[in-house]
């Protein structure tokens, strides 16, 4: 941090969406702590993490919301993706149904979310090639059509995990899509409070 004293730290709300068991929590754990556990406990509600990432001489502080993915708690998701600067939609390459679910999430984000949200599609468990059900080409084509950026990742082997976040950070800085940390709720009628709540955003 000290090395970055000179430049601004930009806060960016980031949300992970996708079916249960696709590896959202594992991706976050890999990115935030550099660890992987074979028996990752299922997320309930949502888990919050923060992690900074340096891009050139700028620093992005990701405020990461790792959602549960259970259908039962689907209605909570908007609270987490509302106002997000970035979203990573995760599917499991060994599970075709999870890819279908991922497309649903993309649609929902396109319909309900902030149009400026940077969306990434992550095909996780790329280490399990022999069990692959979703081809990279298919996912890539879909991503291209929908203006997402796409990577196959493995939380287990760490392949492409940091890269996804790094890529997002780069895009954020390019587009200056960075916003205040608590800007979850949009209450147009109350602009004053919103500024107050954002006052702690930069160091």
């Amino acid at each position: 941090m000290a090395a970055n004293a000179g430049n601004k730290i930009r806060n960016a709300k980031l949300v992970l969406l996708g079916d249960v068991g696709t590896g959202k929590s594992s991706l976050v754990l890999r990115f935030v702590k550099g660890q992987f556990v074979e028996f990752q406990e299922s997320t309930i509600g949502a888990a919050f993490f923060s992690q900074t990432l340096a891009v050139n001489d700028e620093t992005v502080k990701f405020e990461i919301w790792d959602t549960a993915g259970q259908e039962r708690y689907h209605s909570l998701a908007p609270m987490y993706y509302r106002g997000a600067a970035a979203a990573i939609v995760v599917y499991d390459i060994t599970n075709a149904a999870s890819f279908t679910k991922a497309k649903k999430w993309v649609q929902e984000l396109q319909a309900q979310g902030n149009p400026n949200t940077i969306m990434a599609l992550a095909g996780n468990k790329a280490d399990l090639l022999e069990a692959r059900q979703v081809t990279a080409d298919e996912a890539k084509a879909y991503a291209q059509e929908n203006g997402l950026f796409f990577m196959e990742t493995s939380a287990k082997t760490a392949i492409n995990v940091n890269d996804v976040f790094y890529e997002i950070a780069k895009k954020l800085l390019q587009g200056q899509q960075v916003q205040n940390p608590q800007g979850g709720m949009v209450l147009n009628q109350r602009p004053t409070e919103r500024t107050v709540s954002a006052s702690s955003c930069c160091s």
Partner: protein, 833 residues
């Protein structure tokens, strides 16, 4: 910090139990069913299904049982569903059977209705109202409307009531919370919030079907709100934005209270305590279930500092079971102490971190706990961890560690503060004893383990018992680490002395020669008395010499350096390495050299003439340059007496004499003719010797000749320059020395000094055949007869030399005009031309 509870954790401890019916003196025939409970300071309010309000006063002290204060019936048909203390307007708000009632805090007067509202489904007080203002607001859900009721206390205990609509229509409201400017509304559909100012509403999220009763609970003194979905608590900020991970409870909560930093959740037959910050489950308080119904928990919502929790069993059917349990927050310190008592260091450390982030423990106490942890770990032979904690403590004084290093009583005994900590460890004693005792404990534990008995001894030690020597070294290395870090702190002088001296002591124990010498030679606060004989005995003479040196004990330091130089010189170290004699000689030389360098360093700043001259000799024997540097140092306060120096420096050491005199004359502007003469003589002798050598060995290798010639030239240059520049030496003495030599130019200079013009001219004109110089000299003399003399010399050089006509003609050509023609003629005639 896993989510699995350390079963031993006690975040809340029982304070008192009360049987409300019995305390209130109710006959067993009229049972009580507690439906609501509230705490306001030390006042406990209970509301019953039979329409009674009861008031008790709790005491903070253990064993003091609660007092019954009053019972106020509000009507048998009005079962109480909520009690909300409103201290700022001196009222208690009661929700019973859909109507709102107000009571005074001591329940001394009959209740009065608040407005004419009916079918009130939920009510909540504004959580962040200024407690000092005599007003407050409550949000009320009535039918499809959301209202705010503003209450203001007037003189004479009169209450001014204003009711306004915030929003409508609002679905069947189940629960409310009012935090900041937002009123959080829970309906069967989900959660939303309304601005208490303009009534604008926003949905937060909908709840899944078939979930339990929605609940909202303000947390953290009204900065956040917890919204429940099943057994999950979603925490949101005052604008409904999520803040932090969800809390996951292991039962569906019926009732929630916050006792900062904990969230307390009541389920069917137990109460669970979680840590607010990370949702970790800490403690379970089980209750024997005696019938249908739930548990009710209540704390004083208004304050963060409030320590109390009440748990009321609201089980029906068996009124005897209707009891109220009071719990008190166990202070951070007590919790940590409890885990340390069980030697559960990991738990203690995680508690410490936890309380630190929650702001539940003072900075000083954190330091105190680190020190306490350090001592316990130390006695458990976990030296590295121990020192890590010592270093984390800002209040631990380095002197507290001294008794581990040096047996009491010692020079620093009085310095050691008598801190008792928590009495969990014995007073510090010397390291060896700590280790011996610790090893005995490990042995015993091994024995017990074989017998199947559990002990608190570290598993690692049991599976792999350490050796005494390893432990000792580990302990010493870690204390060294501690003392090194302590040196950086601002310590009192005596403590600093202790730190440095004991540091040296420990370095010595491990024979860390480099560290010893580094410490000894740098600025340090070592007490020499404590170390002198130790270092001497163990042969750490260099360290001792450095130490003496750094303490200004020059003569002792020098004596050692001299001994060391002599020992190296005498080859006493030869047996150190058998092979490679080159190495030895280099070693020997450099070791000797180092002794001389160190000694000269001391002497350069010393003004002690006797001491300097005493040691100069051996230093010069090793390195003349060092001796010269000592003599010519400008770092001493008082200059040495040249007389003594000259007298005492070995006359064989010409270079030293010469350089010393040069320094005296050139740098110190000494104008004593005696030294000028000596200097001239020394230079002359050297020049002669050099010329002589050259003549003898001349004509070897070309290169060598070159450099030799160079050397002679520079010597002669110096001599000539000096002879010319100084007027203070005795030219005759010098002349005596070089009389027989070929140093003609020097001779010319000397004769010139003596005014022997004729001889000078002879040398210049005949010996050196430098007619230009000769004529120049005549010009200097400035008299015509000088030219005439020179002309004579040219015409009759004598010693069988041919007359030098060319030079003579040149002379006449150059100066003839100004010469007296008669005198010229005379000379010519004299020489028969």
């Amino acid at each position: 910090m896993g989510s699995h509870p350390p079963s031993s954790r006690t975040a809340l401890e029982p304070l008192a139990t009360l049987d409300p019916a019995a305390l209130a003196g109710l006959p067993p025939s009229s049972p009580l069913t507690v439906r609501a409970a509230a705490l306001s300071g030390h006042l406990l309010y209970l509301g019953t299904g039979g329409g009674k309000l009861l008031l008790f006063s709790l005491h903070d002290e253990e064993a003091a049982s609660p007092d019954f204060l009053r019972l106020l019936p509000i009507g048998a048909t009005l079962p109480v569903s909520a009690i909300i203390p409103l201290p700022s307007v001196a009222r208690i708000l009661v929700l019973a059977q859909g109507i709102l009632l107000l009571a005074d805090p001591l329940l001394s007067r009959p209740v009065r209705r608040l407005g004419s509202l009916r079918n009130v489904s939920a009510v909540a007080a504004h959580a962040t109202a200024d407690p000092s203002s005599p007003s407050c607001s409550v949000a009320v859900a009535v039918g499809k409307k959301l209202l705010r009721v503003d209450l203001e206390l007037r003189d004479g205990d009169e209450l001014d009531v204003q009711t306004r609509e915030i929003a409508a229509p609002v679905d069947d409201v189940k629960a409310l919370a009012w935090v900041g400017d937002s009123v959080f509304v829970a309906t069967a559909m989900g959660y939303s919030l309304f601005s208490s100012g303009d009534g604008q509403g926003v949905d937060i999220f909908t709840v899944p079907e078939s979930s339990d009763q929605p609940r909202v609970k303000p947390l953290s003194g009204g900065e956040e709100v917890m919204l429940l979905v099943d057994n999950v608590g979603v925490v949101v900020g005052t604008f409904g934005q999520p803040v932090g991970s969800s809390l996951v409870f292991n039962t569906t909560p019926h009732c929630i209270a916050e006792v900062f930093p904990y969230v307390v959740v009541a389920g069917d037959s137990k109460v669970d305590v979680y840590r607010r910050r990370n949702g970790a489950h800490l403690q379970t308080i089980p209750f024997a279930r005696s019938g249908p119904g739930v548990l009710i928990v209540a704390s004083d919502d208004d304050g963060r500092g409030k320590e109390l929790l009440v748990i009321a069993t609201a089980y029906k059917r068996n009124y005897l079971a209707c009891q109220v349990f009071c719990y008190r927050k166990v202070s951070a310190v007590e919790q940590i102490k409890a885990s340390l008592r069980r030697k559960n260091y990991k738990e203690a450390i995680s508690l410490l971190e936890e309380f630190e982030t929650d702001g539940e423990i003072s900075k000083d106490m954190i330091s105190f706990v680190h020190a306490q942890l350090g001592f316990l770990l130390f006695f458990d032979l976990r030296f590295e961890d121990a020192v890590n904690h010592f270093l984390l403590s800002e209040t631990l004084q380095p002197s507290e560690i001294f008794p581990f290093i040096m047996r009491d009583p010692n020079r620093w005994s009085d310095l050691v503060p008598r801190k008792r900590y928590w009495g969990l460890h014995p007073p510090p004693k010397p390291l060896e004893e700590v280790i011996d005792d610790g090893l005995v404990t490990i042995q015993q534990a091994l024995f017990l383990k074989k017998a199947g008995v559990d002990t608190v001894v570290d598993e690692d030690f049991l599976s792999n018992p350490p050796s005494r020597a390893d432990l000792l070294e580990l302990a010493i290395r870690n204390i060294i680490r501690f003392l090194c870090a302590s040196r950086m702190k601002n310590l009192s002088f005596p403590e600093m002395e202790g730190v440095d001296t004991l540091l040296m002591y420990l370095y010595r124990a491990l024979d860390l020669v480099d560290d010893m010498e580094k410490l000894a030679s740098s600025q340090n606060s070592c007490i020499v008395d404590e170390l002198e004989s130790l270092l001497d005995d163990s042969g750490h003479l260099r360290t001792l010499a450095f130490l003496y040196g750094s303490k200004g004990m020059c003569s002792k330091a020098l004596a050692i350096w001299r001994v060391l130089a002599r020992n190296y010189g005498a080859g006493l170290w030869k047996d150190l390495s058998e092979n490679g004699s080159d190495e030895i000689s280099i070693d020997k030389k450099s070791s000797e050299g180092i002794a001389a360098i160190e000694a000269s360093k001391i002497l350069k700043t010393s003004s002690d003439e006797e001491l300097i001259l005493e040691h100069l000799g051996w230093i010069a024997d090793i390195d003349q340059e060092l001796a010269i540097a000592v003599l010519t140092s400008d770092m001493r306060g008082k200059q040495l007496s040249p007389e003594k120096v000259i007298a005492s420096v070995d006359s064989e050491k010409v270079v030293i004499h010469q350089r010393y005199l040069q320094w005296l004359i050139e740098d110190q502007s000494c104008d004593d003719s005696h030294y000028h003469t000596s200097y001239a003589l020394l230079l002359a002798q050297s020049a002669m010797k050099a010329v002589h050598m050259e003549a003898k060995y001349g004509g070897k290798d070309d290169k060598e000749i070159d450099s030799d010639v160079q050397f002679i030239y520079s010597l002669r240059d110096r001599l000539q320059l000096f002879l010319q520049a100084s007027d203070l030496y005795d030219p005759e003495e010098v002349l005596d020395v070089i009389a027989e030599s070929e140093l003609w130019l020097e001779k010319a200079i000397l004769y010139r000094k003596m005014g022997q013009e004729n001889i000078v001219l002879q040398i210049l004109a005949l010996k050196l055949e430098d007619s230009e110089a000769a004529e120049q000299y005549c010009a200097e003399i400035g008299r015509d007869d000088a030219y005439i003399q020179l002309l004579g010399l040219y015409l009759d050089p004598q010693n069988g030399k041919e007359p030098m006509f060319t030079a003579a003609v040149r002379l006449l050509h150059n100066h003839g005009k100004s010469l007296d023609p008669l005198q010229v003629l005379e000379v010519l005639l004299l020489h028969q031309y």
